[in-house]
């Protein structure tokens, strides 16, 4: 198949605020992992928010095609059910809602959309056990309320676990490495690597090159001042690490 995600001239601003994305062009094919890097304030998180349909942003121009559909025309929950997954930089706590219950509700919402039968409790548990094994994580997180009282590392692992359960076509990882110590980073990265799939595209947004040592991307893009100003293969990241973003500012 051709491009899973096609972004053309995407412009967006914070509602009633300044323009943050000033014409993004990006193609991502199924099976690829893309890294989007850049300095603070470049628009990285805005891009992930706009793709996921978070309220509070206004698209002022451009198009986004996802599996041939107009992504921007869909409400956030529909995008999710159509297979767009966002791993949050700051996963949100939902007190009193059991993690498993939440995940089953989410999973079955997607299955209903695709015309598949909902999973009953037993089928769901079986799927959970398989993913836990795949990601080599314990079941201690499952009995707790969604993200409540989780450490930073636990929250990020929970995001990846959700991704494993929901099996998205497009996974956007928003600063998934932020706040992780080296062991947690390794564990989360191993999980993501196991979820690489010929049918799945992964877009990683990160400030730091070190994540790319663990999840090796097919393509690396530099986002600066709302535009992609440079792109390259995986060796490009190492180059950036040496030279920094500063020269790109001059080039842009």
């Amino acid at each position: 198949m051709s491009k899973l995600l096609e972004i053309r001239g995407l412009r967006a601003r914070i509602a009633n605020g300044r323009e943050v994305l000033k014409g993004i062009d990006l193609d991502v094919a199924a099976g690829e992992v893309h890294a989007i890097m850049g300095p603070n304030g470049a628009g990285k998180s805005t891009l992930s928010s706009v793709l996921a349909g978070k309220p509070g942003y206004e698209v002022t121009g451009g198009t986004v095609r996802y599996l041939g559909q107009d992504l921007l025309a869909m409400p956030a929950d529909e995008r999710a059910r159509e297979g767009v997954f966002l791993a949050f930089q700051y996963p949100v706590e939902i007190p009193g809602v059991n993690n498993m219950y939440f995940l089953r509700a989410a999973l079955n919402a997607g299955r209903r959309q695709r015309g598949q039968a909902e999973l009953d409790a037993q089928q769901f548990l079986k799927a959970v056990r398989e993913r836990l094994k795949l990601l080599d994580i314990g079941d201690d997180l499952l009995r707790r309320a969604v993200n409540v009282g989780f450490s930073g590392g636990e929250k990020k692992r929970n995001e990846i676990f959700q991704m494993a359960m929901l099996e998205p076509n497009l996974a956007i990882l928003d600063e998934t490495d932020s706040g992780l110590d080296i062991d947690a980073l390794r564990a989360v990265s191993d999980g993501v690597n196991r979820l690489r799939d010929p049918a799945r595209a992964i877009v990683m947004i990160t400030h730091y090159q070190r994540l790319l040592d663990y999840i090796v991307p097919d393509r690396v893009h530099v986002l600066a001042d709302g535009r992609i100003v440079a792109s390259g293969d995986k060796t490009f990241a190492a180059e950036l690490e040496r030279t920094g973003y500063a020269y790109l500012g001059d080039a842009a």
Binding site: G53, D77, V92, F102, A109, A145
Partner: protein
């Protein structure tokens, strides 16, 4: 929050058309239908003759008529309480009718004898009496308007010596028990609405669990208001003798109305030594339209007395209906080591107003109480938690823990917490925690990003917020309550 503070004022119930004003079409209410059953109503108005009419209709003994009349005379000297944070149009107590009964009221002996119209009503509510009772193992004493029309599982309970019947039947069959306990927890003159109820109560439920008996099933009663312009005055009396245990479920839903309906119920619980009573309520009466017109006025006095040592009473309520809710299920902790609990979820949406909470009165030594209140406000709803913790001077070792959480949905609603703490013992431990939060856009987006619709996301977050209370409900009620929370908040997120 002294209920009797208003008792000395002159009665000044100026007639008003307020009760009859709201002629509105509200199509959103799922249970809004009216069953066409011929009724034999009392003429509108309230005086001593009305009280005599009711008592005579029910074939009551002289002592009970006297008891009613005493309450009525007391009520005439009282004025409605005005301390609650409720905006209530004046109620014309002379405009309502105080008795209504299905016409063929000779008392059916089986479901076959029950008016098919009534059975249809239950079906619309999803309460097929026989099946539901058999499937869920729940005994149902269904109250339709003022006369009990069907009772199930009675024989099974009777084998254990448990009495579960309509209040009217209890008066006939077990007058000594009724006479001993009626008004012993909520006296006739306790407050304006309790006095009104004592004078004109229609019917209700009576439960007696003998010493040492553990009631093997949840007891359930469904109340339903139907006849137009008829106030509903339920009276419930539940006694758990020494070492007995009983769990009681009360669920309410009412048909759509075009005027406000007055409801003033009284529930009295008595727990003797080592007895335990769990009383759960799901209240889903018509709340009025989005402008607040047409909903039920719900003034309820619920109180339990932990008379014996180590006795326990627990109230759990999910309040989603009614235009106005005035309700403070309370515990009198008299017995040494007795325990009281109050778990509450109250939702106000659109123009609903709720002023609800509890009173925990620590009288005996080593008494303890727990209060968990979850208030949810949406639309233009106003939600007040009003609770009193009182520790008397002899209550050595008394402990209370109170937690009041409020959740706001939208910008036009209100949440208020009014705790009254009155401690007369230096050793008492009283804790009060209160929080107010808004459903955050981040929480909503997180759920939606995982594929949940806005409605499902809201329902999930709200149910999580109420978890500690829902956990206190019996399983089948908890499921019903969760659905109810979602329905009650429909349209509150855009």
């Amino acid at each position: 929050m002294s209920d009797s503070a208003t008792a000395n004022r002159p009665a000044s119930n100026a007639p008003s058309a307020g009760l009859l004003e709201g002629i509105v079409q509200a199509e959103g209410y799922k249970y809004g239908f009216i069953t066409d059953v011929e009724t034999e109503d009392a003429p509108p108005g309230l005086n001593e003759d009305t009280v005599r009419f009711i008592s005579a209709k029910k074939g009551e003994p002289a002592w009970l008529l006297e008891w009613r009349l005493k309450a009525f005379r007391r009520w005439q000297t009282m004025a409605p309480p005005d301390w609650a944070k409720l905006d209530i149009a004046p109620i014309d107590y002379q405009a309502a009718s105080y008795y209504s009964a299905p016409k063929a009221a000779s008392g059916p002996k089986s479901l076959d004898e029950v008016d098919p119209e009534l059975l249809k009503t239950y079906e619309k509510l999803g309460i097929p009496l026989g099946e539901r009772a058999a499937l869920a193992g729940v005994a149902v004493d269904a109250v339709f308007d003022s006369v009990s029309v069907a009772t199930t599982f009675k024989d099974k309970l009777a084998d254990l010596g448990i009495i579960f019947c309509s209040f009217g039947e209890a008066v006939r069959e077990h007058p000594e028990l009724v006479r001993r306990y009626l008004g012993s927890v909520v006296p006739q003159g306790d407050n304006f609405f309790a006095a009104l109820n004592s004078a004109v109560f229609s019917d209700g439920s009576f439960v007696y669990v003998p010493a040492g008996v553990r009631c093997p099933m949840e007891l359930s009663t469904y109340f339903r208001i139907n006849a137009a312009k008829t106030g509903q005055f339920e009276r419930t009396l539940l006694v758990a003798d020494r070492g007995a245990y009983v769990s009681y479920l009360e669920g309410c839903t009412a048909p759509q109305r075009d005027e406000n309906q007055l409801h003033a119920a009284v529930v009295e619980l008595v727990a003797l030594e080592d007895a335990e009573i769990k009383y759960a309520t799901v209240q889903n009466w018509y709340p009025g339209d989005e402008n607040g017109k047409g909903g039920i006025y719900n003034f309820v006095t619920k109180r339990g007395a932990c008379r014996g040592a180590r006795s326990k009473i627990s109230w759990a309520q999910v309040e989603t209906g009614s235009a106005i809710t005035w309700k403070y299920p309370s515990c009198l902790l008299e017995g040494e080591g007795s325990t009281g609990a109050f778990y509450s979820v109250a939702i106000t949406n659109n123009r609903q107003q709720a002023d609800t909470g509890t009173k925990m009165i620590h009288i005996g030594r080593d008494t303890s109480s727990t209060v968990i209140s979850k208030g949810i406000s949406a639309g233009r709803g106003q939600n007040t938690y009003r609770g009193q913790v009182k520790v008397l001077s002899n209550a050595d070792g008394a402990r209370n823990y109170t937690q009041c959480d409020s959740l706001l949905i939208g910008k036009r609603c209100g949440a208020h917490t009014v705790p009254y703490i009155d401690v007369r013992h230096p050793g008492a431990k009283v804790e009060h925690e209160a929080t107010t939060s808004k459903i955050s856009e981040d929480q909503m987006f997180y759920c939606q990003q995982r594929g949940l619709t806005a409605e499902d996301a809201l329902s999930l977050i709200v149910n999580g917020f109420c978890k500690e209370v829902l956990n206190e409900l019996p399983m089948e009620f908890a499921v019903e309550a969760q659905k109810l929370l979602a329905v009650s908040l429909e349209g509150s997120v855009g």
